[in-house]
Subunit: 325 residues, 2 copies
């Protein structure tokens, strides 16, 4: 575990979110909000699914990536961008860089789903592989940046990225009236931080919950402890949620999140399959943790209007977690 | 093969479509139209996917079923409705009957996907099983109706059903400007007939293509022969498209369809997987036949604005056709 403080960090404001939204609009979808009577009856809540699986590159992460890439000066853009990522940020940065016509290098764990690797390459990005641990990822990445001088777009601990992700809940508030709660998955905390930034400004009465795999519950433990606890290489089917909080995302989590709920691997897979079956949406395991925690804690959500951020849809269709192969 | 003529059949008009749309609006979704830059680039066309997989009961068939059920007199409604169906009409009629609070009995092949059987029961319908052939289905059904006196809502050869299905392309024309082509799968021809009815009235310049599995190409052969050819129990992964044309749907097909294109089983499965992978939508094999035929006949669609009816999303998630199990 690590105690992290950084007195010099730049905290994005809602003005940054407004600028981000104008900047990225040509490159992103305003994703639809879908509902399911079946899931409403099952949970006793009114659920509004903000479908970032239908986003460009099939993940909310294009919002932050586009904000970073299109905010670069011409001079900096020419050198290109680089990142490390468990997957969706990798392909989102590749997409954003491709849209601007600049180079993107991404360090990815060799165990990342093949579909995500294929998508990075499809968008024109270059992959450098590392071992599936935070320490290996950071070490390999340092070498990449030292060599190229590329602008580092961190997957979440970057004010440009958080301001970009914050446009998602800005749209949601525009699309659905009178929400009581918004819940989103938490890994490094980029989406949750963006959600906190937007809601604390334009809808301060809305409660914010974060949902996390029990197998990678470092954020929940951090929340209870009052300081960042980081695990190296947790093992969960929700491969987008393995990374730890960092100082910038911790700032938002500790100040604005009501609680962090957890779900087991079986609960996550069951919730994922339920969304595929009843909503006809391909969502990735990381996106199912929210519904899994709602099903597990019905008393918190019953009778409430709940926005659920479906964060992405990148799944290896040949290796579905409910199949034994 | 059979030659069918029926001088007394009732052909629905566009006035019936307008009445149907008002009648069924409280019970259906106006489904979204989604696009994919990847698939546009792959085909050289502009594709607009009308997503009836996101419809109630995950199939366009609720449109026709609701129109039939909610058009019944109080007296007739009390006796209930019955049908035979390869799946989606079965669960759609169960949904519609459930919404009105009346009984629905459905004759289904014992080989129908378990997910569809479960959904019928979930909506409150009663299943009577038959063998997977048209002849067995019709024989078992006659017994059911003789016993109950229920109103027979044919899955497609019924003017109420065709007028209901016609509301789908009415919405599509409202959602997308300047379409050149609309393409839909063809089994018994209910969706295609509804499409013909609407487009020939409000958008007569739009060409209508039908897409069919090569393994169940009775409609394509009928189209070339000039009379209905019916196969008993064809075998295809597109389980919604096994049934033959009947006199009412043949009327629309022969008068308004530009051509009927076919695709092999492998082409259908590949197109289905492509939509899951790139659009993050769960669509059933029957819904993938359209894209399969577009990929096979690019010269017909290149440079065109093409509406594609995604007819349904009911799939057994434990038995995906690209997996060997």
């Amino acid at each position: 575990m690590t105690r992290t403080t950084n007195p010099t960090m730049t905290i994005p404001t809602y003005a940054d979110v407004l600028i981000a939204h104008e900047r990225i609009k040509p490159y992103i979808h305003k994703t639809p909000v879908l509902t399911s009577r079946f899931l409403n009856e099952l949970t006793g809540a009114e659920l509004f699914f903000k479908c970032e699986n239908l986003q460009k590159a099939a993940a909310f992460k294009v919002r932050g990536a586009c904000n970073a890439v299109f905010g670069l000066s011409e001079e900096k853009a020419k050198i290109g961008v680089a990142t490390h990522s468990s997957g969706n940020h990798a392909l989102s940065l590749s997409y954003a860089a491709g849209q601007r016509g600049i180079a993107a290098t991404v360090v990815m764990p060799r165990t990342a789903p093949q579909a995500k690797k294929d998508a990075v390459i499809g968008y024109g990005g270059t992959i450098v592989e590392c071992e599936p641990s935070t320490s290996s990822r950071e070490a390999v990445f340092e070498q990449v940046v030292a060599k190229s001088g590329a602008d580092f777009v961190h997957p979440y601990n970057d004010p440009r990225v958080i301001a970009g992700q914050a446009t998602c809940s800005k749209e949601l508030i525009d699309q659905v009236d009178n929400l009581d709660i918004v819940i989103a998955p938490i890994g490094g905390g980029g989406m949750i931080s963006g959600t906190c930034l937007t809601l604390s400004t334009i809808a301060p009465d809305v409660k914010i919950y974060a949902a996390e795999p029990l197998n990678a519950d470092d954020a929940a433990r951090s929340f209870r402890a009052g300081y960042i606890i980081a695990d190296d290489a947790p093992n969960t089917v929700a491969d987008g949620l393995k990374v730890p909080l960092k100082d910038l995302t911790w700032h938002f989590v500790k100040n604005h999140v009501t609680d962090i709920l957890t779900a087991t691997e079986d609960e996550i897979v069951a919730a994922m399959k339920l969304v595929w079956l009843r909503m006809k949406l391909v969502i990735e395991p990381s996106s199912a943790v929210t519904l899994a925690t709602i099903l597990k804690n019905p008393e918190l959500f019953k009778g409430k209007r709940v926005g659920i951020i479906i964060t992405g849809g990148n799944v290896d269709l040949d290796k579905l977690p409910w199949m034994n192969n």
